[in-house]
Symmetry: C2
Subunit: 521 residues, 2 copies
C-alpha cells in the first residue's frame, strides 16, 4: 500500500474548527502526569538469543511444517480458492505451501507504516525502531477501584480509554480494553469504536469478532478520516489470532479479509500457551509460530498486496502440574526474543509482550511477572505492544490500579530506549573536573543544568525514608495508584471532536443498532 501522507479527513466539510488547534489542545490535555510522550524510537539495539545457524534451522523447520503438515484455513471457499490460485496444494481445508510461497507473497507487505490517529500529532509508526504501547485487550472482568472483581461494563471501557488517553507513556487507545458485557454482544463493537474516537485522539483498533463488525469499524473510521484516507492509509490495527496449533478459524479470517481489503493492518498472532498449543520447547514453539505467521500474514497479501501486516506472537506457558497458564517465566521470554529475530529477518513489524501476569491482585507476583515480560518486550525490539498496561489474572481482568502502575513502568521503558547520550553534555567531563575527589555533584553547574530531565521520575514509587513513609500512612504502591487513578478520572477532559463527526457517528450507530435485535451470546 502506498504511504499517502494526507491530512485525515481533509476535504470533509462542516468541521467546527481547524485540526491544528484541536490537536494542540488535545496534546496539552492528554498528559495525566506530564506531557504526552511520542511513540518510542529505540536507540538501543535489540537483544538476540539465536545465532544465524539457529535462525536458519527454525526457518528450515517451519518450511517443512508449511509444506508437509500444512495449515488449516477454516473459511468459506474463498480463502481456499485464493490459496489454490496462488499455487498452494489444498486438501479439504488443509493448505500445504510450496517452499518459498509465503515469503514471496510477503514481499509486498510494508516493513514500516504509519498508524494514523484522528489527531495527527498522535499518529505512530509501526515497524523499524519504533515501539508503540497499547492497553490490555479482551478481559471480561475488571478489578475496580473499590477492590471488587466483577464483569466489565461500558463505563469501565470508557474509563480505560480515558486513562490510556491521559497516560503520557501510552501511545495508542487500544481495542477491547475490556468487554462491556452490559451491551449486547452484537452491538458492543459500535460503542467500543465510538468510545475510542470520542474519548481519545490516540490511534485505536477495530473489531474482529465478525466480518460485519469489522465493516462497521471501517465505516465509522471513514466518518472520522474520510473514505479515501481510510482506503489508502492505516487507521486501525486489528488483532488476528491464529487458533494454534496451525489453524485460522472463520471469525479471524473473516475479519482479516475485511481489514486487508480496506488496507487496514492485521496483527497475525499465534496465541500460544506452550505445552498446550505448541511443543514444550522454545525451538519447537518458534517453528510453529513462524509457520503460522507465514501462512496467516501472506494470506493478507492475497487479499490486497501491500496491506500492512504484523508478525505477532503471544507467548506464555502452561503449568505442567495444573494446566494453568503461567506468565513472566523464562521460556516464553526466549520465544519472544527468538520470534522478534525471525520477524526482523522477514522484514515485518513485530508484536509481542506487554505487562502479563497470572496474579489475581496487583502484588509482587503481578509486578515480577509483568516486569519480566516488559523488559523482554523492550529489548526484543517489539514494534507493537498490546497488554502494555492493566492486564491482571491471565488477561481475565482489567485492573485499574495495575493500569496505573504499568503505565509508570512504560515511561521507564521509554527512557531506557533512549540509550546512552554521548554528547559533550552527556560525557559530563566539566562536572567531574568541577567536583573532584570527595565532594558531591548535587550543586554543580552540570547538575543544575540537567536535573529536570536527568532521571525518569516515577509518580508512584515511594523513595522516601521509612519514617516519612510511616507518617504518610504506610501505603503500598497500589494504594497510591488507586488515588492517582481517581484523580486522573476526575480531571479528565475529552479531546475536541468535530460535532458534525460526532453526530454522524451517533446516527450511524443508531441505525445499525436498530437493524438488529439484541444478542447476549
Amino acid at each position: 500500500m502506498d504511504e499517502i501522507i494526507e491530512e485525515p479527513g481533509a476535504g470533509r466539510r462542516s468541521r467546527g474548527e481547524g485540526r491544528g488547534a484541536a490537536a494542540r489542545r488535545a496534546s496539552r490535555s492528554g498528559g495525566g502526569s506530564g506531557p504526552a510522550m511520542p511513540y518510542i524510537t529505540r536507540k538501543i539495539q535489540p537483544y538476540n538469543v539465536l545465532d544465524e545457524e539457529g535462525l536458519q534451522l527454525i526457518e528450515h523447520n517451519a518450511d517443512i511444517v508449511l509444506e508437509e503438515i500444512g495449515i488449516e484455513f477454516r473459511d468459506d471457499a474463498e480463502a481456499l480458492e485464493l490459496w489454490k490460485n496462488a499455487g498452494a496444494d489444498v486438501k479439504g481445508q488443509r493448505v500445504h505451501f510450496p517452499k518459498g510461497l509465503c515469503r514471496e507473497l510477503l514481499k509486498t507487505a510494508p516493513s514500516e507504516f504509519t498508524w494514523h490517529a484522528r489527531n495527527p500529532e498522535r499518529s505512530v509508526r509501526i515497524g523499524g525502531n519504533a515501539t508503540v504501547f497499547a492497553p490490555v485487550y479482551g478481559p471480561p472482568f475488571v478489578r475496580d477501584l473499590d477492590g471488587n472483581r466483577r464483569y466489565a461494563t461500558i463505563e469501565d471501557f470508557r474509563n480505560f480509554v480515558k486513562l490510556a488517553y491521559m497516560a503520557p507513556s501510552m501511545h495508542s487507545s487500544g481495542g477491547t480494553v475490556c468487554e462491556p458485557v452490559d451491551v449486547p454482544v452484537n452491538k458492543r463493537h459500535l460503542d467500543m469504536v465510538y468510545t475510542h474516537i470520542k474519548y481519545s485522539d490516540k490511534p485505536f483498533m477495530g473489531s474482529v469478532t465478525a466480518p460485519e463488525r469489522a465493516e462497521d469499524s471501517i465505516a465509522m473510521a471513514k466518518l472520522v478520516f474520510g473514505d479515501d484516507f481510510v482506503e489508502n492509509n492505516c487507521v486501525m490495527l486489528n488483532l488476528i489470532n491464529a487458533n494454534s496449533p496451525m489453524v485460522f478459524d472463520e471469525t479471524m479470517l473473516g475479519a482479516s479479509k475485511v481489514y486487508a481489503r480496506h488496507g487496514q493492518a492485521s496483527v497475525v498472532s499465534p496465541f500460544i500457551l506452550s505445552g498446550a498449543m505448541s511443543p514444550v520447547t522454545v525451538a519447537g514453539t518458534l517453528t510453529q509460530i513462524l509457520a503460522e505467521v507465514l501462512a496467516g500474514a501472506s494470506f493478507t497479501q492475497l487479499i490486497r498486496p501491500g496491506a500492512p501486516v504484523l508478525f505477532g506472537t503471544f507467548a506464555a506457558s502452561i503449568s505442567m502440574q495444573s494446566g494453568a497458564p503461567t506468565f513472566g517465566t523464562p521460556e516464553p521470554a526466549l520465544v519472544s526474543y527468538g520470534a522478534a529475530q525471525l520477524a526482523r529477518r522477514m522484514g515485518l513489524p513485530f508484536r509481542t509482550g506487554g505487562s502479563l501476569c497470572a496474579s489475581k491482585v496487583p502484588d509482587a507476583q503481578a509486578a515480577h511477572e509483568s516486569a519480566n515480560t516488559l523488559n523482554m518486550t523492550l529489548l526484543a525490539g517489539a514494534n507493537f505492544v498490546l497488554h502494555a498496561a492493566g492486564w491482571l489474572e491471565g488477561g481475565l481482568a482489567a485492573c485499574y490500579e495495575k493500569f496505573m502502575i504499568d503505565q509508570d513502568q512504560l515511561g521507564m521503558m521509554q527512557k531506557m530506549a533512549q540509550g546512552v547520550d554521548l554528547s559533550e553534555s552527556g560525557q559530563a567531563m566539566d562536572a567531574i573536573r568541577e567536583v573532584g575527589p570527595g565532594a558531591h555533584y548535587l550543586g554543580c553547574a552540570h547538575t543544575q543544568a540537567n536535573f529536570q530531565s536527568a532521571f525518569y521520575r516515577s509518580a508512584l514509587a515511594d523513595n522516601n525514608s521509612f519514617e516519612q513513609w510511616e507518617i504518610e500512612g504506610r501505603k503500598r504502591v497500589e494504594e497510591r495508584a488507586n488515588t492517582l487513578c481517581r484523580s486522573w478520572l476526575d480531571s479528565y477532559e475529552a479531546p475536541p471532536l468535530d460535532p458534525a463527526i460526532d453526530e454522524a457517528l451517533l446516527a450511524f450507530i443508531a441505525g445499525r443498532k436498530d437493524s438488529m435485535p439484541d444478542a447476549f451470546t
Copy 2:
C-alpha cells in the same frame, strides 16, 4: 595467582569423615524447594548498550580523569609509597596515573578464578560466562515474619544464612546478610564468619570493616581450608567500596590490602547514587566508575600481583526532587550494562545489580524495581551478584518474605540463562507432526517425555483460577512467601562440619573476644 587445584583442607588431620560423603549429604539437604543448582553458566549473550566508539570515548575520558584529576588514597603512607614506586605522580593523598599504568598493572589479575566453598561441590567460578548469586549485604534492619521492622540480630543473621543455604538458586552464602546489632561491633565479624561456616557450606565473604577484622576472617578461613590452601586459592570475596567520587578511604584500603596480601578477592565497587556521587548522566557516571575501578583494582596488584579482583559497580540514582535514592530506574540499568562492557574489555570479572528496590514492603513497587534490576543483571552478564535476594528499603532492611520471592526469581534467571535448546528434542518436529492442526500437545509423546523439566516451576506464583485462589484464602504472594519461609526454617538441617574444625573456630573466637572490650559504635 596460580589456580592451584587442591582439595580444601587436604593434609589437615582430625577430620571426622571424608569430604565427599559430607558433600553429598550437604548437597541433598541444601535444596529448600528442589535440588541445589550449580552456579550459572550463561549460554546467552550479554546485552550491549555502547558501540566501539562509545567505549573508546569513555575509556579515553577515564584516562583523563586518572591523569589530570587523580584519585585520592586516604591511607597511611604505604599506599602512596606503592603508587610512587609504580610510577604515579603523588601529591598529598591525590594520586595521578600516567596513561596506561593501571591497565598495565591489571594484566596480572585473573579474568576467571574459583571461589572455593568448604564443600567443593559448592565452589563457584567467578568470571567468564559464570554468574553467581549472593544475598543482600549490609542492612541494619530486618522486616521479620511478623511484619515488624526492627534492628537485625545475630538470630536474623543465622536465619538468612540458613535460607541462602537452602535456596536452590542461591550460589553463595554472602557476607553481611544483615548487621547483627546485638553483638558488639568490634566482635560481630567473628560471629558472622562463624555463622557462614557453621550453617552453610556455600562460599562466603570476609569482613571489611577494619584490617584486623579482615585478618580474623583469614585466620578463621585457614582453620577450615588450611593455611596453604588459603594463601594460594580464593576462599573469600570481599566488598571494597570506593568512596565515590574518586576516593578510597582508609578502612576499605586496609581491608583490601589484607585480602590481596593473602590472595583473596577484592570486589572493587564504586558505590554510585548518580546525581550525588557521580554526574547525572550515564556516560559521565561510567567515566568516573571506570577511573575509580582502574585505580582501586590495580592497587590490589601492587599488593600482590595475581590477587583476584572484580570490576564492581553499584549503580542507582537519586531523586532530583527529594535527594532520596531510587532503584530499578532506566539510567542505572544503562550504567550497569555499559560498565559490564568496560569490564569485559578489561578482562576482569564483573559485579553489579541484584534485586534492588526503594519500597518499604514487598509490594508491586518492590517487585518492579527488583525485576528491572535483576533482568538487567542477567543480561549484562554480571559474574557476581550481591543483593540478589532479600533487599528492601534501599538496602536498609533485609526482608524475609522478599528473600523468598527473590530467590524464586533467581531460579527463573538460571533457566533463562540456558538459552534456546536447538537439539533434535528441542526442535520437537516429531511433536508438531504428531499433533497437527487443531489438536493439542498435552498428551503427545514429546510432552510426556519432557514435562518434568520443560518449564521453570515457581514455588510461589499462584497460577490457579480466581475461584480456586478465593477458596485458598485470597493470598498475596508475600503471604505464601511467609509460609514457605517458616517451613524452610523449620526443616533446616545444618551441613556437616568436622567437630575438630568447629572446636578450633570456637576457641579462636573466644580468644579474640576475650582480647578486647565490647564496643558498640
